[in-house]
């Protein structure tokens, strides 16, 4: 029987291929569960999970919250905008205060890279990283790869290109690691200023010409342009129109090149910027499958981590 020997999910780093496959096998069963008349199982009914969001996120929080509720966990939500973080409390103190109320697991989104790692050394409960700055966002990468395995079977030898704003993405690094674990070849493609230099050291191809990248790949994972993070003194690209002309994924572009890669988008989409409406709404788009799979994959992660909490006090 496969094993899963992790206390936390801080990133894809540290996971093995068999860990990822165990998560996927479990997620497949949970996907069944959430399509039944009764979309709920009692596995986590004696646990309380805190969703700590020190940075705004609607869909990730919603997805985690649904996953927790479908596992029958009790859920408390915390968002920084409403909290004493603004009054000068440290992260560890904030979390300790919440744990003092008998919380068993923590899901955390934080603007700073490494926040989840830091917290895992300070507190004693499993932590799931729901995005730490532009570092890792493991459950998004897992659900992207899970969606691809549903469509393609194995990812071994498949060519996946991640397009767009790699610099500000919390998804890119986790995705690269997860895809590589599963045997895929990975490329990143975007404007030079939006691709951090260190990416070439991860063993990925770097391409600046979108047409070349599309000719190469089986899968196009199109990332969002993070409009709210483009306020550098020198802009990363001249204008959204210019970006769309160079790096917008459109039906015309795919037709002109004669290619039809699978298109993923982690959302929220900027229609008419990185992806055209026509493409996003095509019948064969799997972008909404990603959202459905997100709940199943997060259920699997919560379930597998909770399973090791062991011997509840009875």
């Amino acid at each position: 029987m496969a094993e899963f020997n992790h206390r936390h999910l801080l990133g894809i780093r540290g996971l093995s291929r068999s860990d990822v496959e165990t998560i996927f096998a479990t997620a497949r069963e949970f996907k069944d569960v959430i399509n039944r008349p009764i979309r709920k199982v009692p596995s986590l009914r004696d646990l309380t999970v805190a969703n700590l969001f020190f940075e705004n996120s609607t869909r990730t929080r919603l997805s985690f919250e649904l996953a927790e509720k479908r596992l029958s966990a009790d859920v408390v939500n915390f968002s920084a905008a409403l909290s004493s973080v603004n009054k000068g409390e440290t992260l560890a103190d904030t979390v300790r205060n919440i744990l003092a109320m008998k919380v068993d697991m923590v899901v955390m989104r934080h603007p700073h890279a490494g926040a989840a790692h830091y917290l895992s050394q300070k507190i004693d409960v499993p932590i799931i990283n729901a995005g730490d700055g532009t570092h890792e966002h493991p459950t998004q990468a897992l659900l992207d790869s899970f969606t691809l395995t549903e469509e393609l079977g194995s990812l071994q030898g498949k060519k996946v290109c991640i397009f767009g704003d790699i610099r500000h993405s919390r998804v890119a690094l986790s995705n690269v690691r997860c895809l590589q674990l599963l045997g895929a070849e990975v490329m990143v493609c975007g404007p030079l200023p939006l691709i951090p230099k260190h990416f070439s050291s991860l063993g990925v191809k770097v391409e600046y010409d979108m047409d070349e990248a599309l000719m190469w790949c089986d899968v196009a994972n199109v990332l969002r342009i993070q409009l709210e993070r483009q306020e550098a003194e020198v802009p990363f690209f001249p204008s959204l129109e210019e970006y769309h002309a160079q790096y917008g994924l459109t039906v015309e572009r795919l037709n002109r090149l004669g290619v039809s890669p699978l298109v993923l988008h982690p959302g929220p989409m900027n229609r008419g910027v990185e992806i055209s409406s026509e493409l996003a709404d095509r019948d064969d788009a799997i972008i909404l499958d990603q959202v459905e799979n997100g709940v199943a994959v997060r259920m699997a992660v919560l379930y597998l981590l909770a399973g090791r909490l062991g011997g509840s006090e009875d």
Partner: protein
């Protein structure tokens, strides 16, 4: 593990399966409104054998059959060092209004069947539920659960293990073995 004692030899095994299949047909007729549901992992073998035998008796394709995984409904989750890993649930019909026969190989503490009842109810509200088992290890029940159809009642020590060996899974012929604890670590 050490040598095993044969509880049910291949000939008796076949007779027992035949008897269970006939009892089920006697009770359920042509299975028009009934279903056989095997509990993962080991009940599915018995369910598919019974399915084959019933199909032979009745002619045609045989009754509705599904596999039910109970992992997420077990009561010993988080009482082990490792998470319990799930097996597949294959139910391509809803059990709403059906007469369901839950099938497992060995009835022991009753906890598996308790979980199976919960798991099944997530797939609809069956008209009624029965339980068919090959082996009933009576005197070891931890919950008030009894089987409707029983292959063989077995009295064994708590520490002994009963294993149903299926030819397609374990090699050799179908049989039921009793393993003794003192040789288990040998």
């Amino acid at each position: 593990m050490g040598p095993a004692r044969i509880l049910i030899d291949p000939v008796q095994f076949r007779l027992t399966l035949d008897r269970l299949a006939h009892q089920l047909v006697e009770e359920h007729g042509d299975f028009a409104n009934s279903a056989l549901i095997g509990v993962q992992p080991r009940g599915v073998h018995l369910a598919s054998r019974l399915h084959t035998r019933i199909a032979q008796i009745l002619g045609g394709e045989g009754p509705r059959q599904g596999d039910l995984d109970i992992t997420f409904f077990r009561d010993d989750f988080r009482r082990r060092g490792q998470p319990l890993l799930a097996a597949q649930t294959n139910l391509d019909f809803t059990v709403e209004g059906l007469r369901v026969v839950v099938v497992d190989d060995v009835l022991f503490t009753g906890r598996t069947i308790r979980a199976a009842m919960d798991a099944l109810l997530a797939h609809g509200r069956p008209a009624n539920m029965e339980l068919a088992v090959l082996i009933d290890r009576r005197f070891r029940r931890e919950l008030p659960i009894e089987a409707t159809y029983i292959g063989r009642r077995v009295d064994s020590l708590d520490s002994q293990r009963v294993r149903v060996a299926w030819s397609e899974l374990h090699g050799g012929e179908d049989r039921v073995e009793l393993w003794n604890p003192e040789t288990e670590h040998g």
